[in-house]
Amino acid sequence: MTERKIRVLVAKPGLDGHDRGAKVVARALRDAGMEVIYTGIRQTPAMIAEAALQEDVDVVGLSILSGAHLELFPAVIEACRERGITPDSTIFFCGGIIPQEDVAAMEQIGFRAVFGPGANTNDIVKFLRERVGAPV
């Protein structure tokens, strides 16, 4: 009863419908004992921020393959901020097709990690466990 579960929101902003990566990550986190709220595809920044608020998640993971991350990811962070959810209190990470030259910009706006194609799901699990610092 009193054990602390890591809750993760996995969301896909924007218009691409390629959700295989998001689902693989969601499944890997589930198998690592986390509770994963999956939103489905084509989410607006406001929808993602609302879900993060209502679900009181420790972590928000975004996946995008359309190339619109430079526009959409800051908008998600901003929508979360408007609701009092900041990168200081909540861990943001992202993945998908994000060119190396954009990684610094992602980190700049608050993403703690960027996992691209070929990333090992075990590394994602390890990263989250260390960052959330909760027993699993």
Binding site: D31, G33, E35, I37, Y38, G40, L53, E55, D56, R83
Partner: protein, 316 residues
């Protein structure tokens, strides 16, 4: 001010983040959660609660989505609690009910929370009643509770919600399935979803025949045909739930139902507390291991072992 008190103050002021956080605390059974429930419980008792259950894939989430929209259209605020199963092996969970409720997240008068069942077997989670209490205290007028995809025996919802809606779909078995004991008996409103599929009318007639065999009741569950994904028949469902509500209030059944619910909750919490007491006791854990070996070796039967473990005389 203590963190707990601060959260409570913000909760009372209508801060939705405080509500979200207190739900987490209640779900985790923390002192903060307990303190909040104690302080806020006096604000509960205003909301109507409607449970939605049925087998996996019957359309519970889609129906909940449409139901919530219909309630909002007539000006009521809505809380939604949606439970999905935890893995029995890793205790992890994928909570996917939001996928069917995407359009609700633009309405701040709807608060939707996904819960993992965390090992509870009745189709809900142990903390579901606490989460409902918090949504109620927050001022949500109607609370929809969607269960885990339920088979035949997940009937916990009937002791949790004031009105229980059972969602069926055509093509899932013959009338003997419907005659079995269990989930069919707990419905206050029967829904035949996906009513555009072949077999819908047959299912309706089977359900009607089944209902005719029930002993005389003061409330006869209506059967509502609908196609949730096309928003066909939702108004009829809302009306059927309203009728059941009127029945509960007019008959005085509401109070009796509440006392049954609270009694059940106290018993469950008491049982959990006693068991936790035994498990937390280091000596109790060691003795349990010894008893497990003794029973596995055939030296003791499980009933005697259980009596010894809880410190009772074994029955003669």
């Amino acid at each position: 001010m203590s963190p707990s008190g601060d959260l409570q103050t913000r909760f009372i002021q209508g801060d939705r983040r405080a509500l979200a956080r207190l739900i987490t605390e209640a779900e985790n059974g923390t002192d903060t959660g307990r303190a909040a429930l104690r302080a806020l419980y006096g604000r509960t008792g205003q909301a109507r609660t409607i449970g939605i259950t049925g087998p996996p894939g019957a359309g519970k989430s889609t129906l909940t989505n449409e139901f919530a929209k219909a309630l909002r259209a007539r000006g009521q605020t809505v809380g939604i609690v949606a439970v999905d199963p935890s893995s029995p092996y890793t205790q992890g969970a994928i909570l996917g009910d939001r996928v069917r409720m995407q359009e609700l997240s633009s309405d701040t008068e709807i608060f939707m929370r996904s819960l993992a069942s965390r090992g509870a077997l009745g189709g809900l989670s142990a903390a579901t009643l606490d989460v409902i209490a918090l949504l109620d205290a927050f001022g949500k007028e109607v609370i929809l509770i969607e269960t885990v995809g339920a088979g035949q025996d997940e009937v916990e919802i009937a002791g949790t919600a004031q009105t229980t809606v059972l969602v069926n779909t055509p093509g899932t078995g013959d009338d003997i399935q419907a005659m079995k004991a269990g989930i069919m008996e707990i419905a206050d409103v029967l829904v035949v979803n996906k009513a555009d599929l072949p077999g819908a009318d047959l299912l309706v007639s089977q359900l009607r025949a089944l209902l005719s065999l029930l002993p005389d009741r003061t409330w006869m569950p209506p059967i509502v045909k609908l196609v949730a994904i096309e928003n066909v028949g939702i108004d009829e469902l809302v009306a059927a739930c309203d009728n059941h509500w009127e029945y509960l209030t007019a008959s005085g059944r509401l109070r009796g139902q509440k006392e049954e619910r609270v009694r059940h909750q106290i018993l469950n919490l008491g049982r959990a507390r006693l068991l936790a007491g035994l498990m937390d006791d280091a000596e109790g854990g060691v003795r349990l291991d010894e008893l497990v070996r003794a029973v596995a070796d055939g030296e003791l039967d499980p009933h005697t072992a259980a009596s010894e473990w809880v410190g009772q005389e074994a029955p003669a």
